[in-house]
């Protein structure tokens, strides 16, 4: 498949002798691209609606904006990268249906930018099912364990650190400053359980147990009261809360905790979508005349987009300024206000940048059989975040670094000193 254009792609790399031919080929490519016949099509299933839509939309925007830039520059080996996206609303069943559609109907090259643990966890069993197609899931927006261990790890490439690493880091930091009574607020599904498990394991290493736990149901909107959960945890008298949830529910939990006069440090993990969380707290805080943003800690799996020392941050900001793209109209919730910059869209940008790098290193990016090798055996990738990214046959997670941030002056900044919460 794709032989003639593959050859013309190779031709593009040859001397200037063939420039006219290249132009003709490019014109043909444009013609064909209308039919999507030879694009590099990546398939996305993410939350574009519901309480977690902010994650799906921002991740998509970070990636598609970068792809836009690459496409304008001539694509990868002369091939456009296009994204086929479906909305799963953060619901596992929809995610499964979308995935089957992407594989069988749309015949995508690979799966990309999936959002959420419960969704991805349920999609994973499909991948061995289609193993003869050499189908891989690239850089899902989740830190859950299942796609990082057997039997699914070989079908998935992760970029970000795991929730286990995020929660481990958070718990260790709290223990260091004397906050030993840890309670967990979590979403009652595979995602929440993953974070819960990380907290539990880390505490166990120190011979400790969590003092309390409270749960909420996936899809809980910000408008709902979570006072019950606040009361359950408050009654146990914890020193710190690790919150493993989505931004609407976590913001509601923080709001209700602060409203009941409880100022305990609350730490959220990367999946929460820090800016979406912050915006909800700022808006409702302004309405209530209260400051809901004190004592908030968010762990991140990408560096701060405020750190312009980093080449990746500068490029990200440039891309988001010049090539900012929105999801197609049918996926876009008109009530959603896109963020200029965010940890999520920065992660989407990095995902896209890494994918383009991988594809560029392939002789024929349409050759799926060579995809695994291209990722596992081509050494280090430099994304411009100071930390090099590399994969191997036994290493399907690119980064292990966890970054910590807190709200200062209405935005997230890296934490320089944990001792301010020392007890």
């Amino acid at each position: 498949m794709g032989r003639p254009l593959g050859q013309s792609g190779n031709a593009a790399l040859r001397p200037k002798l063939f420039r006219r031919k290249i132009l003709i080929a490019a014109a043909l490519l444009l013609l064909f691209s209308a039919a999507d016949a030879e694009d590099l099509v990546v398939g996305v299933s993410a939350a574009f609606s519901g309480p977690s839509r902010g994650l799906g939309i921002e991740l998509y925007r970070g990636s598609i904006s970068y792809f836009e830039m690459i496409n304008r520059q001539g694509g990868v080996h002369g091939k456009r990268i296009s994204v086929k996206a479906y909305d799963d609303g953060y619901e596992p069943d929809s995610a499964i249906q979308n995935t089957i559609r992407l594989i069988e109907k749309d015949d995508v090259l690979l799966l990309f930018d999936y959002v959420g643990t419960p969704t991805v966890t349920r999609v994973l069993p499909l991948l061995p099912q289609y193993r003869d197609r050499d189908l891989f899931l690239f850089f899902p927006f989740t830190g859950a364990q299942p796609q990082r261990q057997a039997p699914y790890d070989k079908y998935v490439f992760n970029l970000r650190a795991s929730y286990r690493e995020e929660t481990q880091g958070l718990v260790n930091h709290f223990l260091e400053i004397g906050r030993k009574r840890i309670a967990v607020f979590y979403q009652i599904d595979a995602y929440g359980r993953s974070g819960w498990d990380g907290v539990k394991r880390t505490l166990a290493e120190h011979g400790l147990k969590m003092v309390a736990e409270a749960t909420y149901r996936r899809g809980t909107p910000f408008s709902e009261s979570l006072q019950k959960q606040v009361d359950i945890l408050k009654n146990a008298g914890p020193d710190a809360i690790v919150s493993v949830g989505s931004y609407a529910a976590c913001a509601a939990f923080i709001r209700d905790a602060r409203n009941s006069g409880w100022n305990v440090p609350i730490a959220n993990v990367s999946f929460v979508g820090s800016e979406n969380l912050l915006n909800l707290l700022l808006e409702s805080g302004a309405k209530a005349g209260k400051n809901y943003t004190q004592n908030l800690i968010n762990s991140q799996v990408v560096p701060s987009y405020e750190d312009t020392r980093l080449a990746a941050v500068r490029e990200y900001r440039d891309v988001m300024k010049r090539f900012s793209q929105m999801p197609p109209a049918h996926l876009m919730d008109p009530g959603y206000k896109p963020l200029p910059y965010s940890f999520v869209s920065f992660e989407g940008f990095l995902n896209a940048k890494l994918l383009v790098e991988i594809l560029r290193r392939m002789e024929n990016p349409l050759d799926r059989k060579s995809l695994r090798d291209a990722v596992e055996s081509t050494g280090e990738f430099d994304l411009g975040i100071e930390t090099p990214v590399s994969f191997g046959p036994e290493k399907h997670q690119g980064l292990d670094t966890v970054y910590y941030s807190t709200v200062e002056n209405g935005s997230f900044h890296p934490i320089k000193d944990w001792n301010r919460w020392k007890q």
């Binding site: 966890t121 364990q145 599904d189 595979a190 359980r193 498990d197 409270a214 749960t215 909420y216």
Partner: protein, 515 residues
């Protein structure tokens, strides 16, 4: 519109039966449904628990909580499943679906998890559940607990029962509708027939029945229609007959008036007969008085003879004369006796006439009874009676004549007696001595007196007989009067008949007959 009682009875009976049927069916199936559905739910819970336990062995051993949670979530979304939680060998919950927190009651379940695989439990703040547990790797890796939500079970049972109930209600309503239509289709024609019959009872034969049907109610309607048609013709005929009877009654009434007149005429006649008889009676009485007079004179004569004691012995010579004279007298008086005998006969004849008249009066009364169309009969009877009256008149004339003869005979006797007394005067002195002889004569004269008396008696009895005739005539008159009364009564009855017929005609004419 008045509601037919038959209709109400039919409809209410069917509603009652339907209600019993619907209610008992509902109760029975509700019970069955509840038992079966709860059983289904529990076996569903068991299946889920077993399924998680079987798939969870490997995962549990790998000790990845989020993978277990993903499996648990998948089953937790199944309808009726209230919660799912997985316990490891250390009795620690490693995945669950509780919101907002794990209820304390779970520790109870965990403690006794090996002893039973099914128990009812109430989770504080969560509700009532049937907890079903299944061991993972025969308990070596832990246990799976599935809580089937009793609330959901109850709701499902309730909604199933509600569905069933509403179905029954719909069927019930359809049943009522069908019963209503059925009952109406039966009672409407009957009602129409009843209305028609009522109208007929009220005298309106113009009523119409519109119902057309092929079933029995149609037959009923057709029968009532036929009945009204027949009644129409019968009443029409009765009305005509009434007019005829009325005219006949009028005629009878007129006839009875004629009869009454005839009877009145008869009464006049009998009155006349009676008067005549009374006259006869009076005459006979006078005759009797005369006879008495004669007797008295005879007595005086005897006394006069007695006074002529001086010429008694001279009287011997005249004794023969006297004897002859007395013989003549005795013959005269024998004659008189005969006449009296004749009077007797006549009296008998008069008695006969009286008898016949009596008989006639009887006939007359019989005729009077038949009076209706035989008014003329009375004329004939009247004729007969008139004839009898004539005979009676003739007889009375003869009596008169006889009495006259008797009078002359007596006169002769008187003259002879005068001659005899002259002889006696002549021989007065002579017979003075003949006192004894004269006494003998006196004795003989005295024997004459009873004879006169008997004659007088006969005359008297004649008078009595005439009186009897008169009485008979009076009775006859009375009878005729009664006859007249009877005829009057008959006339009155005829009048009543007339009135009755008129009334009947009025009644019948009230009924409106189809033209």
């Amino acid at each position: 519109m008045r509601i037919s009682r038959l209709f109400l009875k039919t409809v209410f009976s069917i509603i009652f039966l339907l209600a019993i049927f619907a209610l008992s069916t509902m109760l029975y199936f509700s019970r069955q449904l509840r038992i079966r559905m709860i059983g289904e739910f529990e076996s569903k819970g068991k299946a889920i628990a077993d399924s998680i336990a079987n798939s969870g062995g490997e995962v549990l051993l790998s000790r990845d909580a989020s993978t277990i949670q993903a499996v648990v979530d998948q089953y937790g979304e199944i309808d009726g499943v209230g919660y799912v939680f997985v316990v490891d060998v250390d009795h620690e919950i490693i995945a669950h679906t509780f919101v907002p927190a794990v209820p304390p009651e779970t520790s109870l379940i965990i403690q006794e998890q090996a002893s039973t695989d099914r128990r009812d439990i109430r989770m504080s703040g969560q509700g009532d559940y049937v907890d079903i547990s299944a061991p993972i790797l025969a308990g070596a890796a832990g246990y799976v607990h599935v809580g089937m939500d009793r609330g959901v079970i109850q709701n499902q049972v309730k909604s199933a029962i509600q569905d069933e109930a509403s179905l029954m209600v719909v069927l019930f309503l359809i049943g009522i509708l069908v019963a209503y239509l059925l009952a109406r289709s039966i009672t409407r024609p009957i009602q129409a027939a009843a209305r028609a019959a009522e109208a007929v009872a009220g005298g309106d034969l113009n009523v119409k029945i519109d119902v057309v049907s092929k079933d029995e109610t149609g037959q009923l309607s057709e029968s009532v229609r036929t009945m009204i048609r027949n009644l129409n013709s019968v009443v029409g005929q009765v009305q005509k007959a009434g007019i005829q009877v009325l005219s006949m009654a009028t005629k009878i009434s007129a006839t009875s008036k004629d009869q009454e007149a005839a009877v009145n005429d008869f009464r006049v006649f009998t009155t006349e007969v009676s008067a005549t008889a009374r006259a006869i009676s009076a005459t006979s009485s006078e005759l009797a008085q005369t006879m008495m007079e004669v007797s008295r004179v005879a007595s005086e004569t005897g006394e006069l003879a007695g006074t002529g004691k001086s010429g008694l012995h001279s009287m011997e010579t005249y004794m023969h004369q006297l004897v002859a004279a007395s013989q003549a007298i005795s013959s005269y008086f024998a004659e008189l006796n005969e006449k009296a005998e004749k009077v007797n006969t006549m009296v008998t004849a008069i008695t006969k006439v009286a008898d016949q008249t009596n008989l006639l009066s009887l006939n007359a009364s019989i005729e009077a009874e038949k009076a209706g169309q035989y008014g003329l009969g009375f004329g004939v009877v009247a004729e007969e009676i008139r004839r009898l009256a004539d005979q009676t008149a003739v007889s009375s004339l003869e009596i008169e004549k006889t009495v006259a003869e008797m009078r002359s005979a007596v006169s002769k006797g008187v003259r002879s007696t005068e001659d005899f007394s002259q002889s006696v005067e002549k021989s007065a002195e002579r017979i003075t001595n003949l006192g004894a002889q004269l006494s003998l004569i006196i004795e003989k004269v005295e024997t004459l007196t009873p004879r006169f008396e008997s004659a007088s008696d006969s005359t008297q009895s004649q008078a009595e007989a005439a009186q009897q005739i008169s009485e008979s005539m009076f009775h006859l008159n009375e009878a005729a009067q009664k006859t007249a009364a009877t005829v009057d009564e008959f006339r009155q009855i005829t009048e009543q008949l007339h009135q009755a017929v008129r009334g009947l005609q009025q009644e019948v004419s009230r009924i409106k007959v189809r033209n």
